[in-house]
C-alpha cells in the first residue's frame, strides 16, 4: 500500500530496455528552473496564488482609478474612453484572473491532500493549465501596452462589441484572451474531476469527502459544461470581427440577443464557479473554529450540487429588460427565486454549526463569518433582482454594482482570505500574524461596506453604472465620496495583508516550522507535517469517516463524552519517507503554453505569427507525448502510486 523501494539500478535497466522517450526530462533541483518545470500540484497551487495576487494588484489599481474618477462630480482623472477601458479590464481581471485562479490555487494545493492523494491525476496537464492561464492573463493585460484595452464591459454585449462600434483591437484582446484562459480552465476542470473520481484514498467514499473538495468538484463540472458555451460565443465574435461573419450583425437579420443568451448561459454558472470554492473554504474553517462537525453535512453537499444544477436554469434574469417576453421573464423569476433556497440552506447550516460551539475568533474565523454575513446581504439584494418589476428599475444602476460586489468581494474574496490565514502554515510552515491579521480583516470589512453599501442608495437614486462622470445636483456627491474613501480603506487592508506576509515570513526565518495541526483541524491534509513535504503522505491513509483526522485525535469515554485520545504529534505523519516515486518535471507545459499568445497576436497583427504559434503548440504536443514517462535516474516506485502520467494521451 505504501511506496515500494525499487532501487535506481533496476530503474536504469528498465529505462534502457524501453527507449520510449525522445527528449530527456529536466531533473528538478531548485531555483527558478524548478518552478518553471514543476509538475507538483503544491507548487502549481502556489504559482496560481502568486499570479492571482499579482493580477489582484492590477485589478485593484484599476478599481482605485475608477473610484478616483467618480469621487467628485465631473471627474477629470480619466477620459470617457479610458474610463471604459479601465472598468472593463477591472471586471475581466477580477473575474477571470483573480477569483478563478485563486480558487484554482486552493483547489490545486488542497484537493489532492484532502482526498489523500500524492498528486492530481495528470501532473503535466496541471502545469499546462497554469501556464496557459498565465499566458492568457498576460496577453489580456498587454492590451494596455498596445494602447487598446477592451472597453465593452466584462460581458461584452454584441453588437456593441462588433467591429462597427468597437473598432481597434480591444475586443479582439478580450475574445482571444478569454479563449486562452478558457482552455486553461477546461483542462484544469477535466484533470480535477478525474482526480476526485479516481484518486481518493482507500475508504474515502464520495460522502466522506470534505465539503471543500465537494464544492471544488461541483465547480469543475460547472466549468466543464460552461466553458465550451463561452468558447462558442467568443469564436462567433472573433469571426464576426475578423472574418466578416454575420452572427451579430442586425443589418443582415442577425439576432441581437444571441450573444446575451450564449454569454449568460456561461455567465450564470460562472457566478457559482466564483462563489462555491469560497463556500467550501468557509465550510472547513467554521467547523474547525467552532469545535463542532459541520451541521448537516449531507445538506451542505446536496445544496452545493443543487446550486450546480439550478445555476443552468436562471441565466435570463440578466436579460429581464432585453425584451425576452413575459413568459421567459416569469419562468426565470421563479427559477431565480428557487435558487436562493439551497444558498439559504448553506447560510443556515453555517450558523447552526457555530450555534453552541466553542468559538475561537482567529483571523480565519473572522473572515469566514464575514463571508456568512456579507454574502447574506448580497444574496438578499439578489432576491430583489429576481423580482422582475423591481429589477426593471435596478438594471444597469449602481444597485447592481453593489449587489455583485457583495457576493463576489464579500462572498468569494473574503472566503479566500479566510483560506489564506487558515492554510498558510500548511503551505509555508509558519503562521500569518494574528495582530496584523485582525487589522487586515477590520479595515477590509469596513472599507468594503463603505465602498459598496452606499452604492445601493446611489443605484436606487438612479445613478447608472458605467457612466464616466455625473453632474452635481443629483444628490450623488456624498455617497460617491464615501465609496471612494471606502475603496482606499480596502487598499489599506490589502496593504496590511501584504505586510503580514512579509513580516511573518521574516519572523519565521531560522525558526523550525510550526508544529502539526496548529488549529485542531479535521481533514486529511493535516496528516502531513507543515509545510507539506514534496511527496505529501508517507503512507496512504485508510479513511473510515468524514473528518478522519479529527476522529483519530478524539474518541468518547464510557459516558459518551468526547475525550482526546491522541496528540497531533502521534497522529500526524513525519514526512520523512524517502522512497516515494514522484513524477518528473517537464519543459513542455510552459513551451506549449507560450504558443497560445503567439496565435492571439497573430490573428490581430500578422498571420505568420499565428503559424509560428500553431507550430509551437503542435510540436510541443508531440514532444510531450514522446517525453520519457519519468526521469530514469529518479527514485522509481512505478507500481506505487497513482500519479499516472498521460502517456500517449490523445488530447493535447
Amino acid at each position: 500500500m505504501t511506496a515500494t523501494t525499487t532501487t535506481p539500478a533496476t530503474v536504469g535497466e528498465g529505462a534502457a530496455a524501453q527507449p520510449l522517450g525522445v527528449y530527456t526530462r529536466p531533473k528538478g533541483g531548485n531555483g527558478w528552473r524548478d518552478w518553471v518545470t514543476t509538475v507538483d500540484h503544491k507548487k502549481i497551487g502556489i504559482l496560481y496564488g502568486a499570479a492571482a495576487l499579482f493580477f489582484f494588484a492590477i485589478g485593484g489599481l484599476e478599481a482605485l482609478l475608477i473610484r478616483l474618477q467618480m469621487a467628485t462630480p465631473d471627474g477629470t482623472v480619466l477620459g470617457a474612453d479610458m474610463y471604459n477601458q479601465v472598468f472593463t479590464m477591472h471586471g475581466v481581471t477580477m473575474v477571470f484572473l483573480v477569483i478563478m485562479p485563486l480558487a484554482a490555487a486552493f483547489a490545486n494545493y488542497l484537493l489532492p491532500l484532502q482526498i489523500g492523494a500524492r498528486d492530481v491525476a495528470f501532473p503535466r496537464l496541471n502545469a499546462l493549465s497554469f501556464w496557459i492561464f498565465l499566458a492568457g492573463g498576460l496577453f489580456l493585460n498587454t492590451s494596455w501596452l498596445f494602447g487598446d484595452a477592451p472597453s465593452g464591459g466584462w460581458f461584452a454585449y454584441a453588437p456593441n462589441t462588433g467591429v462597427t462600434f468597437s473598432p481597434g483591437h480591444g475586443m479582439d484582446f478580450y475574445a482571444l484572451g478569454l479563449q486562452i484562459t478558457g482552455i486553461a480552465s477546461l483542462l484544469s476542470a477535466m484533470n480535477l474531476i478525474v482526480t476526485v473520481l479516481n484518486m481518493r484514498a482507500p475508504g474515502m467514499t464520495l460522502f466522506k469527502m470534505p465539503v471543500f473538495t465537494w464544492m471544488i468538484l461541483v465547480v469543475q463540472f460547472l466549468l466543464l459544461f460552461a466553458i465550451p458555451v463561452i468558447t462558442v460565443a467568443l469564436f462567433l465574435l472573433l469571426f464576426d470581427r475578423n472574418f466578416g461573419a454575420n452572427f451579430f450583425n442586425p443589418e443582415m437579420g442577425s439576432d441581437p440577443l444571441l450573444w446575451q443568451h450564449l454569454f449568460w448561459i456561461f455567465g450564470h454558472p460562472e457566478v457559482y464557479v466564483l462563489i462555491l470554492p469560497s463556500f467550501g473554504i468557509v465550510s472547513e474553517v467554521i467547523p474547525t473554529f467552532s469545535r463542532k462537525p459541520i451541521f448537516g453535512y449531507e445538506f451542505m453537499v446536496f445544496s452545493g450540487i443543487a446550486i450546480g444544477f439550478m445555476g443552468w436554469g436562471v441565466w435570463a434574469h440578466h436579460m429581464f429588460v432585453s425584451g425576452v417576453g413575459p413568459i421567459a421573464v416569469g419562468a426565470f423569476t421563479l427559477s431565480t427565486m428557487f435558487i436562493a433556497v439551497p444558498t439559504g440552506v448553506k447560510i443556515l447550516n453555517w450558523m447552526a454549526t457555530m450555534w453552541g460551539g466553542k468559538l475561537r475568533f482567529t483571523t480565519a474565523m473572522l473572515f469566514a463569518t464575514g463571508v456568512v454575513s456579507m454574502f447574506t446581504v448580497g444574496g438578499l439584494s439578489g432576491v430583489t433582482h429576481a423580482v422582475a418589476p423591481a429589477d426593471t428599475q435596478q438594471t444597469d444602476t449602481y444597485y447592481i454594482v453593489a449587489h455583485f460586489h457583495y457576493v463576489i468581494f464579500g462572498g468569494a474574496l473574503l472566503g479566500f482570505f479566510a483560506g489564506f490565514y487558515f492554510w498558510w502554515p500548511k503551505v509555508f510552515g509558519h503562521m500569518l500574524g494574528e495582530r496584523l491579521g485582525k487589522w487586515n480583516f477590520w479595515t477590509m470589512l469596513i472599507g468594503f461596506n463603505l465602498t459598496f453599501g452606499p452604492m445601493h442608495i446611489l443605484g436606487l437614486q438612479g445613478m447608472s453604472r458605467r457612466i464616466d462622470t455625473y453632474s452635481p445636483g443629483f444628490g450623488f456627491e456624498l455617497w460617491n465620496l464615501v465609496a471612494t474613501i471606502g475603496a482606499f480603506t480596502i487598499a489599506l487592508g490589502v496593504l496590511f495583508f501584504a505586510l503580514n506576509v512579509i513580516f511573518s515570513a521574516r519572523r519565521a526565518r531560522g525558526l523550525p516550522p510550526v508544529g502539526p495541526d496548529p488549529w485542531d483541524a479535521r481533514s486529511l491534509e493535516w496528516f502531513c507535517p507543515n509545510p507539506t513535504p514534496v511527496h505529501n503522505f508517507d503512507e496512504l491513509i485508510q479513511v473510515e469517516s468524514l473528518d478522519e483526522f479529527w476522529h483519530r485525535k478524539y474518541g468518547t469515554d464510557e459516558n459518551g463524552r468526547i475525550v482526546r485520545v491522541a496528540t497531533a504529534e502521534e497522529v500526524c505523519q513525519k514526512g520523512d519517507a524517502t522512497d516515494v516515486h514522484l513524477p518528473s518535471p517537464s519543459y513542455w507545459p510552459v513551451v506549449l503554453a507560450a504558443g497560445f499568445p503567439l496565435i492571439g497576436y497573430g490573428i490581430m497583427y500578422n498571420l505568420w505569427l499565428c503559424a509560428a504559434g500553431g507550430i509551437l503548440v503542435v510540436m510541443s504536443i508531440y514532444a510531450w507525448v514522446f517525453e520519457p514517462p519519468d526521469d530514469p535516474d529518479g527514485a522509481h516506485g512505478h507500481e506505487a502510486d497513482g500519479a499516472a502520467e498521460p502517456e500517449e494521451a490523445p488530447v493535447g
Binding site: R118, A201, P228, G253, A644
Partner: protein, 207 residues
Amino acid sequence: MADVMTTEAPAAAHQSEGAGTGISNNKLLMWVFLGSECLLFGGLISTYLIYRSRFHTGPAPGDIFDIPFTSVSSFVLLMSSLTMVLALSALNRGDIRNNRLWLLTTALLGSLFIGGQVYEFTTFVREGLGYTTSPFSSAFFTLTGFHGIHVSVGIVMLMSLFISSLRGSLRQEHSETVEIVGLYWHFVDIVWIFIFTVIYLVPSPTS
C-alpha cells in the same frame, strides 16, 4: 470490465484502486472531455437553428443543399466507426497487421469525408453562398467547419497511432490508447448524425 470494477482488495498496491471508478484515468479524461464537447456543439447547433431561415438575400438552405451527395459522405463517415471498432478488436487480439490496416482505413474514410466537405464548400461558394453572405451561411460554415476540424484532428491522431505502430511501439498492451482515440472518433461521428439531421434532413426553408 467486471474484474476491474470489483477492486475491493484491502491492501491495494495502486492508489487509484483505493476508491475510484474502475475506469482508467486516461479513459475517464476522454469521457469528461467529450462531455464538454457536447456543449460546444450544442452551442453551435443552437446558433444554426436560430439562423437557418435568415438567409438575407443569399441562397436559402433548401435551395442549395445536395442531400444525396451529403448522405453518401455521411455514410462514409459512419462506416469509419465500424473500421475503428475493427482496429481496436484486432489490437485486443494482438493482431498488429489488421490493427494497422483498419487504423489506416479509418483515417482514409475520414479523409474521404473531409474531401467531400471541401467539395461541398467550394460548390456552395461558387453558387453564391460565401461565409459572409448571411447569418445562415456564417452559421452553416461555422458549425460544419468545427465538425470538419474535429474529424481532421481525429485523422491526425489515427495517423499518429498508425506511424507508432509501424515503429513497433503500438502493441497489444496499448490497446487502451486505441480505445480512447476510438471514443473520440465515435463521438465525432455521433455529433455528425445530429448535425446531418438538423441541417439536411429537417426540411429547410426555401426562398
